[in-house]
Symmetry: C2
Subunit: 357 residues, 2 copies
């Protein structure tokens, strides 16, 4: 039977349930089937990629309550299997890869630990090393990323997706780790939407009270320093001014995944900032990533709701998450699999001998 | 280490993540651990029970677009593994049992099919037969349920939970199937809250336009016939007037499950109506089922939001579901398991050598 969205919708409507009664799961099944051009869509080797890098501004301590060293410590925690994303990917049988895009630590210390996640069978490396440097420059006083560094980040994102796709994966969740990266994400939101920086800045890993005031002032100053309030800027320019290595790599990875017709599962605030940059780049070529994309959740970081509204996105989960690491993506996969299970396994009214309305 | 809620909260707060950053999953872990009095709570043999029965008023065709025969046809579909709840329980490795509380069909026709779900290993029967009759009386003109029938429904709910608990299960989702039962649920909501019947009646499996007007008028008349608008009524009285065999059995099952300290996972509109009756019965003894209960989702049936608000419940999912069968419960289990996975498997700041804020 040849594929058409109408034929898939008809298949869904013939399942033994009132039409539309599985709500968003029906929308998902139709979307994924249309992306895969299949009446029996499948998630093959679903995988979460966690892009990690450090941020020069974090070393000032002005925007983040946790010390910068936590980025490297958490990468080690990922490789040892002890983080939240490990618990969720193990439970839901998802692959997991940590990508070192430029953590402020010798890369050899991660090699020694990898591959440690022997409890998780997967045919893709648990660690990929693409360090562009020891973290971005402090964008309070200089561009965060050099042009050559940005090209290296984009290339990394493309290569990783190409390799993941070649390994047999057709569905990927992107997550991140990088102390200070909610600040970059807030500035991306402000630059792309024109919303005031103060409205885009949120608690991140835990800024509140006086600390949040200081974080906001610091970021307003950085935004003005780069003249991001002066005119509309291209994604590449925004990334060089106030981006992060991990955010840049994710931007390219989203674009590459959509090109491969992989299902993209977007995580929280920082991951969505990178997605907005990628979508803007796609739009400049008259394209859109949205047909390939599912938004896993609406997070607790206040700017996330505006990102999702800007994209016209309807998130699957609203659990008050604000962790990152791809955790929301991982939690959404059972719903995606449920959508395909009903589409592929349920009886039809005819096959089950059930009367219609 | 002896259990206290404070000790469990401390364990959760020591996990390698900003405190509170897993949102509702942290609340769930604390709730389930407190219910089980364990710092390492577990879901053992999680199971979905689908209570099925027919409703006399459905034979009139005034309240339901699907013919009454669909109840029996769907029970056969459950037993053959072809319904949505089968797809979801298989995928998420949940046990599944269909309980015939009084479907309008010879019970032998179900025996011949059971146990058909050989693809699902479980140590509890796929079918339980407790038929109280061939469906309730038409409550437009008579009490739906006799007092002796109500006692039989309550006994069934108690016996089934006792047996399920004895088999090793400590977490149960309750679902239902019964053409016409959204009408009973709407009247339960009206009777327990005083909200006008017209606001409580919704589309059910698909009533809209003129049909919805007719459904509403029929139910307003039934409500008045039983004088449910005259004064506050006890749950048992509401059930005999306008209840269903499956709703009555579920009411008793909720009470029995809470007594056994099982985790209760509430499904949609009809399941929540039964829960409201059970909670009211518990309250009359100075107790509450809420510490044992998780609300899986907010459904699309309009009255469901008012039920959840009345109970002060925060549902886990909002996916626009309106199917019943326990499908929302089944979809919530991966989130419950995720909550326990982070609680039991994640490293602590100390064990992983990660710095704190």
């Amino acid at each position: 039977m040849s594929f058409s969205p109408a034929a898939l919708q008809e298949k869904i409507d013939q399942k033994t349930k009132p039409p539309g009664s599985l709500g968003q799961l029906e929308t998902l099944a139709l979307q994924i089937g249309t992306l895969q051009e299949s009446l029996s869509p499948q998630l093959r080797q679903p995988h979460v990629l966690v892009f990690a890098a450090d941020h020069g501004i974090a070393a000032t301590g002005l925007v983040n309550p946790y010390p910068q060293a936590v980025t490297a410590q958490m990468v080690q925690n990922f490789l040892a299997g002890g983080a939240a994303i490990n618990a969720f990917t193990r439970l839901h049988q998802l692959g997991l890869t940590v990508v070192n895009m430029g953590v402020n630590a010798p890369k050899e210390q991660f090699e020694a630990l990898s591959p440690a996640r022997q409890d998780q069978q997967q045919n893709f490396p648990a660690l990929l090393q693409y360090p562009v440097g020891n973290g971005t420059a402090n964008y309070a006083t200089a561009p965060a990323i050099q042009t050559t560094e940005l090209a290296a980040c984009f290339l990394a994102g493309q290569e990783i997706i190409a390799a993941l796709h070649a390994s047999g994966c057709n569905a990927v969740g992107l997550g991140e780790m990088g102390i200070g990266n909610s600040s970059s994400a807030a500035l991306v939101l402000a630059a792309l939407t024109g919303r005031p920086v103060a409205e885009c800045v949120g608690m991140g890993t835990g800024a509140s009270g006086d600390f949040l005031v200081q974080k906001t002032k610091t970021l307003e100053a950085a935004f003005a320093f780069h003249q991001l309030d002066q005119k509309a800027h291209q994604p590449e320019e925004i990334l060089t001014c106030i981006g992060g290595f991990e955010i840049a790599a994710m931007t390219a990875a989203y674009l590459a995944a959509a090109e491969k017709k992989m299902l993209i599962v977007v995580d929280g605030f920082i991951s969505t900032a990178a997605f907005m940059l990628a979508e803007k780049m796609a739009q400049s070529k008259g394209e859109s990533l949205l047909p390939a994309t599912v938004f896993s959740h609406q997070g607790e970081e206040k700017g996330h709701q505006w990102m999702l509204a800007h994209l016209g996105a309807k998130p699957l989960l609203q659990l008050g998450l604000r962790l990152g690491e791809g955790t929301g993506s991982a939690l959404a996969f059972p719903l995606l699999q449920s959508a395909l299970a009903f589409c592929n396994e349920m009886a039809s009214f005819a096959s089950a001998g059930v009367s219609k309305a």
